[in-house]
């Protein structure tokens, strides 16, 4: 009895996706520390391995060996489940991401929706973890996470809807294919569809930062206010898994930005498209995300909501209307 090739394919991709997510989570920590170091004119990790490249392993080993303390008074089940609820949906989202023309775990028609659906589960995980740890800082953080995610989901979805209107599909593969040939065909520069395209990329990027709780919108774990926010009570690997979930979400966000606006695996000059371009683009975006974190102070909660409700939402709606008008006219 031989294995069904379809099963092998699914399993291989599952392993690949998990490995990709885990490796990214580990090495983005390294990248973050290294980049922060150089921005601040220091070196960053350097002791473990060349350029500190083995540092994530050392960190992981350290986190693993830490005692898993379940503090008194917490809800033990929720406390343990919450990190997994953050991590698993993030990994699931990778399933539909087309890394190149052929390299995709599963190409489905509504791939875009898959990512948003799983991203919304992430909030639930954070919320359960925060509530489960029965810590006042964590609960404040949870309240912030929810209102922040609700506020930023709107402009993000509106922007994405604009894009779906332009490309006419929710299939990530087809969205990339529609941006074929040179960077002037990428959605970010598709000015004939809507002159506000670069701005809507900015909106998307800002929303992505907010949805992934990255600085300057890291209200959830504002360390100078809420210590570690929702993760305050988490020891060792519980914290580590949360952390990996966060980084996996950043990778998803970068992938989405690349696919939607930057032409996915397409080369800027129409030559040699492939997975390398995709990786270059997502790491450029991740680099920018980290760069932003180490440049700016944190916003406050209300100015964050103001930004969303007073600036991003009106502009994205205006863009939606403008785009639909232009689609109708031209």
């Amino acid at each position: 009895m031989s294995l069904d090739p379809e099963v092998v394919r699914v399993l291989a991709f599952l392993v690949g996706v998990i490995a990709f997510a885990a490796l990214n989570a580990a090495y983005l920590v390294w990248l973050e520390r290294k980049e922060a170091g150089h921005i601040q004119r220091r070196i960053g990790p350097k002791e473990v391995g060349p350029f500190g490249l083995l540092q994530p392993l050392a960190d992981g080993a350290k986190l693993m060996t830490k005692q898993l303390i379940v503090p008194d008074g917490v809800d033990p089940v929720l406390f343990k489940i919450a990190p997994i609820m953050v991590m698993v949906p993030a990994i699931m989202s990778f399933v539909t991401i087309p890394f190149s023309d052929t390299l995709v775990a599963r190409n489905i028609d509504i791939g875009l929706l898959v990512i948003f659906a799983f991203a919304s589960v992430n909030v639930l995980g954070l919320l359960l973890g925060a509530w489960g740890s029965r810590n006042k800082y964590a609960i404040i953080s949870a309240a912030r996470v929810v209102s922040q995610n609700v506020a930023y989901e709107i402009p993000m979805l509106v922007t994405v809807v604009t894009l779906v209107m332009i490309t006419g599909t929710m299939n990530l593969h087809e969205i990339v294919m529609s941006q074929q040939g040179g960077f002037w065909n990428w959605n970010i520069l598709r000015l004939n569809a809507s002159p506000l395209m670069p701005i809507s990329f900015l909106i998307f990027f800002v929303c992505m930062l907010a949805e992934t709780n990255r600085a300057p919108f890291d209200m959830a774990e504002a360390e100078s206010e809420l210590i570690a926010g929702a993760f305050t009570e988490y020891p060792g690997m519980g914290f580590g898994v949360f952390f990996m979930g966060e980084y996996a979400n950043i990778v998803i966000g970068a992938c989405l930005a690349t696919i939607l606006f930057l032409g996915g695996w397409q080369c800027p000059f129409g030559l040699y498209p492939g997975v390398h371009w995709f990786l270059i683009k997502i790491y450029a975006i991740i680099f920018t995300v980290i760069w932003i974190r180490w440049t700016f102070p944190r916003t406050t909660f209300y100015s964050l909501l103001n930004l969303s409700w007073k600036i991003l939402i009106p502009i994205s709606f205006f863009n939606l209307i403008l785009t639909s008008a232009m689609l109708k006219v031209f």
Binding site: Y137, I140, E223, S224, I227, W294, T295, P297, S303
Partner: protein, 372 residues
């Protein structure tokens, strides 16, 4: 207090900020009664690193208390040193060598810049920006190197002596100081572009944490906190001690009363300190760095004396009571941040948590100085 009792029944809850909290910079604890994210009542709890310097002063000679002064405000140790030596000099009627006065001014102002730079970094860190902290540390490190080359230590200097200073400064120090000022002059626009003019920073500071002039007066706030509330009060100008009256500098005063005003006061003070240092270096007279005839054993005549100097955080006052012996009878240390922090409870009422923390950062707390 009543609000804490009420919190059991109301929708409010008590949040313990500290004693180990990233935003309190040391071991300060603030009991907050919160309504959601709004601060209903804030009560700082002090004393976690209280060392009873005042009692220690009563048990050692006048000169032996000198090392203690640098250990209260470890960020502007020289000002505390200065406050103490001028107080004893006033009491005992000791003349100070002129060169020593200039040396004191130069080192003191350098120390003030280093304190403000550290505050700047820590404040931005409170607001969530990390890189400016390390840029400020980079500059501050130059000051520490300079001061170390003169005083021999990097933080808890014990450099001033009754009648002068411990050691003379050399040309290397003066050249280093001039070079550093040039460097910092070039860096200041970077700080302003990176932080001051940043929209996030402006949104977080402008109009946040109002402290009125009246509140300053009622609580005895001094230093940049008062100057950010439109009070033109700087002891270097107001009650000129040492040789400050010979320099041309301005006292930055902002009338907005918000965190931004306090921030700007300190940033402008860095510029003014650089001006003072430049003038002092130019005018530095030759001569002894210590009045020659000062006896090793100081015995101020009976009576009580008050002396205050302007530190980076406000006016540091010393009340000395001498009984004519070689040990102080009573040594009251009036630290500026103690008064500045006491208005936090009233000022933070009704604020959001992050804004209250921004207000707390803008008060520039140094806990060992509060707890003494």
């Amino acid at each position: 207090m009543s609000a804490f009792a009420q919190s059991q029944t109301n929708e409010t809850f008590v949040l313990n900020l500290g004693p180990q909290h990233p935003a309190t910079h040391g071991v300060l604890r603030v009991k907050l009664v919160m309504d959601g994210e709004y601060v209903v009542e804030a009560e700082p709890v002090l004393g976690y690193i209280h060392r009873m310097h005042e009692k220690m002063g009563e048990n050692r000679t006048w000169a032996q208390f000198l090392p203690n002064t640098g250990r209260m405000d470890y960020l502007h140790a020289l000002a505390f040193n200065h406050g103490y030596v001028t107080a004893v000099e006033r009491a005992a009627g000791i003349e100070v060598a002129e060169r020593a006065e200039y040396i004191r001014v130069i080192t003191n102002e350098l120390n003030r810049i280093s304190s403000h730079l550290l505050w700047f970094g820590a404040f931005v860190l409170d607001l969530g920006g990390f890189s400016p902290l390390l840029y400020a540390f980079d500059d501050r490190e130059h000051i520490l190197d300079l001061l170390e080359s003169v005083t021999g230590s990097r933080l808890t200097y014990c450099y001033y002596r009754f009648g002068g200073v411990y050691n003379d400064i050399d040309d290397g120090f003066l050249a280093g100081t001039t070079a550093f000022i040039k460097r910092l002059r070039d860096r200041m626009p970077m700080y302003h572009n990176l932080v001051t003019k940043n929209i996030i920073m402006m949104k977080r500071l402008e109009g946040i944490g109002p402290v009125s002039a009246e509140m300053c007066r009622k609580y005895g706030a001094t230093g940049p906190v008062a100057r950010g509330s439109g009070i033109d009060f700087d002891l270097r100008k107001h009650e000129p001690y040492s040789v400050y009256s010979e320099f041309d500098f301005e006292v930055p005063v902002y009338t907005e009363c918000d965190s931004m005003a306090r921030y700007m006061v300190r940033m402008d003070e860095i510029e003014q300190s650089m001006r003072i240092i430049e003038q002092a270096v130019a005018k530095l007279p030759d001569g002894p760095f210590m009045t020659p005839k000062v006896s090793k054993i100081v015995k101020p005549p009976k009576g009580d004396y008050y002396n205050a100097v302007e530190t980076a955080r406000g006016s540091f006052g010393i009340r000395l009571v001498s009984d004519g012996t070689n040990t102080p009878y009573r040594l009251k240390l009036r630290s500026p941040t103690f008064s500045n922090l006491s208005l936090f409870g009233e000022a933070s009422r009704g604020m959001l948590l992050p804004d209250a923390l921004a207000l707390m950062g803008s008060l520039d707390l140094v806990i060992p100085e509060i707890d003494r």
